[in-house]
């Protein structure tokens, strides 16, 4: 049965979004045989939807800007469970990574001086929170993700990276030492299954926002990397931490960038009141995303929501004037007119907090090496296995990501992973070959699916899963609700494992892909649910009605979910900075 074709590479990157293509570029530039496995053509990856920008202290808007201030903001934003060493690395290396992108041709917007245009975003400050609002987010109008992703694809074309476009990675292949030695992948166009063998396997598989019914995420954000890692028995970290973006378009879920508020837009309730002044007197609409999202939900719950059902609020932009809107936020005008039937030049956009970003993921060190925890509680590197971007938890976002930091995370840690693997390849990587049985093990799930004879429809099961997550694990959480949600997921598991695949054809069979994606969604949802229930405090995006306070005594730590026992463990947060003393946890106000 395991008699399938093998393709061999020095490095295989699973995922063709920002972090994957940045890692691939690094490796292709140094001449290593590198392949990107991507289930969609690379420029269709979800990075393309990023709008507002990439936050980085390049000192364009303010010549005295310092990366240390960005570091402070990010640590505070993370509610102090972001790893300070990783945040320091990201903020310090960031400018170099941004300038590289610019040199590759990224069409950033410009200032009069010809430098990269930067706009204010939420949670940004000068002088360690004491110097007022900073403008630190580098932007290409409101299409920064699109510009970045296309530039990276172009860079990879120039450097002749091998792309396995419209290939779907099914499961991880592990050798006798439990090291990762590639993946089993499916060519979507032909249906052929191949063992893609590699000395280094990088998961850059992005997020999983599709576990929720209402999300800004693309259809393809199904947590495939997280699902594969969990099925392989590897742990995930801080997976209960899901960011709800304050401004998803009501009904459609499509994202409206925080850059709208950065450019001077603000939220109003049904009375026309700018309510964020009450919740965050200093930063107002530019407080952390978790803070703004919760404030919006409270407004709605207390009867001050807008619309006939009072179930959303408004984002007001018309006071900025048509000229500014056309120049700075052209994509938002287009999206609002299309999906909200509202022209922001004249009327406000109906918005509601919408699932946006997975702060958790595969735990890694700064070099992108995936980690597990041994019996003594020590970090242990998983040989051959790396992760970067949204799929990874390095962790620079902790319990709440700041706007504009995801694109920086992608390029900085895509690059860092690539550089580290380059070094390892130079020094020589020797992993045992996978046996027939090892490959067979990675084929098991697919074989079972291909043999399915009854079962329920993937689309029905997916809707059920998304509804459970939306109802029991949303912006506000409560222990008894979550326990009920966990039970419902338990009931759902055998049904999803037995999902129907009536169409057994090979040519571009998207039913098969959707069934596999559904199984990945389930893994992410279950890990989220169990971990969320276990974290008995409120921190960052994780807000509990039954544990309203942050509990530093017990929970100033990462959660680690171990799939085999479905157990939640703890892992220490890194508080070791190279350049200064660490930032001690403070009460977080904006």
């Amino acid at each position: 049965m395991a008699n399938i074709r093998t393709m061999s590479f020095d490095a295989v990157i699973v995922g063709g979004g920002g972090s994957g293509m940045r890692a691939a570029l690094q490796l292709a530039q140094s001449g290593y045989k590198t392949a990107v496995i991507t289930k969609v053509f690379p420029t269709r990856s979800h990075t393309v939807s990023a709008q507002g920008g990439i936050t980085c202290a390049i000192a364009s808007d303010d010549p005295n800007d310092q990366w240390q201030w960005h570091m402070y903001d990010t640590i505070k934003g993370s509610d102090y469970i972001g790893d300070q060493e990783a945040i320091e690395y990201m903020c310090q290396t960031g400018p170099e990574a941004i300038f590289e992108l610019e040199h590759m041709g990224l069409p950033f917007s410009r200032t009069e001086e010809g430098r990269i245009y930067q706009r204010p975003f939420g949670g940004q400050s000068k002088d360690f929170g004491k110097g007022g609002q900073a403008a630190r987010t580098c932007a290409a109008a409101d299409r920064t993700g699109h510009a970045l992703l296309h530039t990276l694809y172009q860079g990879n074309l120039k450097n002749e990276t091998t792309f396995l476009n419209e290939w779907f990675a099914v499961d991880i292949v592990k050798n006798a030492d439990n090291a990762v030695v590639g993946v089993v992948a499916l060519n979507i166009e032909t249906g052929e299954t191949v063992y893609v063998k590699s000395k280094a396997t990088v998961f850059a598989t992005g997020g999983a926002g599709r576990i929720y019914a209402s999300t800004t995420n693309a259809h393809i954000c199904t947590g495939d990397g997280i699902g594969m890692a969990l099925r392989a028995g590897f742990p995930v970290q801080d997976i209960e931490m899901w960011q709800f973006h304050p401004t998803g378009i009501h009904g459609a879920g499509t994202l409206v960038t925080e850059g709208c508020r950065g450019e001077g837009g603000y939220l109003i309730n049904k009375d026309g009141e700018r309510f964020m002044e009450r919740y965050a007197p200093n930063a107002k609409d530019l407080a952390g995303r978790d803070v703004v999202a919760r404030s919006m939900v409270l407004e709605i719950l207390e009867g001050r929501g807008c619309g006939p059902d009072g179930d959303h609020v408004y984002l007001k932009l018309d006071h900025l004037g048509e000229e500014t809107l056309n120049a700075k936020l052209p994509g938002i005008l287009e999206l609002s007119r299309t999906f909200a039937h509202a022209d922001p030049v004249k009327e406000p956009i109906p918005v509601v907090p919408t699932c946006h970003y997975m702060m958790g993921g595969i735990p890694t060190n700064v070099d992108g090496q995936a980690l597990t925890i041994d019996k003594e509680g020590n970090d242990q590197v998983i040989e051959g296995f790396y992760a970067c971007g949204e799929a990874a938890c390095v962790s620079v976002h902790g319990a709440n990501r700041l706007g504009g930091n995801s694109l920086l995370d992608l390029v900085v840690f895509g690059r860092a992973s690539g550089m580290f693997i380059e070094k390892q390849l130079r020094e020589g990587i020797n992993l045992k070959d996978a046996s027939e049985a090892d490959i067979e093990a990675a084929m098991a799930g697919l074989n079972r699916l291909n043999g399915s004879s009854d079962g329920e429809k993937a689309s029905d099961l997916r809707t059920e899963l998304q509804t459970i997550m939306q109802n029991y694990f949303g912006v506000f959480r409560r222990g008894d609700y979550m326990q009920e949600g966990i039970k419902k997921l338990e009931e759902l598991r055998p049904r999803i494992e037995n999902v129907a695949l009536d169409d057994k054809s090979n040519a571009f069979n998207t039913s098969r892909i959707e069934a596999l994606e559904l199984q990945n969604l389930l893994e992410v949802a279950e890990a989220t649910a169990i971990t969320a229930e276990a974290r008995t405090e409120s921190r960052g995006a994780h807000a509990r009605d039954d544990f309203k306070e942050r509990d530093d005594e017990n929970w100033l730590c990462h959660s680690v979910f171990f799939p085999a026992e479905k157990r939640v463990g703890k892992r220490g947060v890194n508080f070791t900075l190279k350049t200064r003393e660490a930032f001690e946890p403070q009460v977080r106000t904006y």
Binding site: R44, H219, S505, N506
Partner: protein
């Protein structure tokens, strides 16, 4: 009930393509065409189409909707339905893999031909290369291309010579780099385009402009390239 007619072809089952009729209950809502396809796929999982962002920026779901190329996710029924009927076919002119999914290799090959990346061999500065807002403004209307192929597959010249004519999308990108003040390979780029087919097969039909879901104007960009080619020859 909305009448929907969809192009079907599964190479493993069907001897030839056919149009299949469905009825969809839209509950009176002005859904996007993609929403209708998702509803149909829930009923008939064998229906195949590409989709990703569902907001018009990834370019996955280009298709021919009631006779006009466009993105299913941002085309509302109110624009696409005529006499209570929606007709969906794959983008024309390229081989069909299955149902609404076409083989885009030829389209991508033309994109790769124009060297779609910045060329500037001078040593990079320690910061960004400076560019004035006016210079940067020249890239507006060019860099936003999402490679959905709606334009090139609406172009008769591309249908006749898909291997030799770059097509509107590729040429728009060619001009995106020619117009960039940071790119230094203008001569090389023009030399690569200077043959009877690459650019000059454009006959100004402007189907590309009519269908571009991002409101871009490849014909105008092609005009600029023509002028550059003519000027560089004299």
């Amino acid at each position: 009930m909305l009448n929907v007619s969809i192009y079907r072809y599964n190479p493993e089952v069907d001897a030839e393509p056919y149009m299949q009729d469905f009825k969809v209950d839209t509950q009176g809502k002005d859904l996007m065409v993609l929403d209708v396809l998702e509803k149909l796929k829930a009923e008939d999982p064998t229906l195949v189409f590409r989709r990703s962002c569902r907001e018009g920026v990834c370019g996955s779901d280009g298709m021919n909707i009631s006779g006009k190329n466009g993105l299913a996710c941002v085309t509302p029924l109110s624009e696409a339905v005529k006499k209570n009927k929606l007709v969906v076919r794959p983008l024309p002119g390229l081989p069909v893999i299955r149902d609404l999914v076409i083989d885009m290799s030829q389209f991508y090959a033309q994109y790769e031909k124009i060297q779609p990346y910045m060329i500037n061999n001078s040593p990079a500065p320690a910061i960004e290369r400076l560019q004035s807002p006016e210079e940067r403004a020249k890239l507006d209307g060019l860099y936003e291309c999402i490679l959905c192929a709606c334009c090139s597959t609406a172009c008769p010249s591309f249908w006749w010579n898909p291997d030799k004519f770059i097509g509107p999308s590729g040429l728009l990108q060619a001009y995106r780099f020619l117009a960039d003040s940071r790119d230094t390979a203008t001569e090389e780029r023009l030399a690569n385009l200077d043959d009877p087919f690459s650019v000059f097969r454009c006959h100004g039909i402007m189907n590309c402009v009519q269908v571009c879901p991002k409101g871009l104007n490849p014909t105008k960009a092609i005009g600029h390239i023509r002028n550059m080619l003519i000027n560089s020859a004299t």
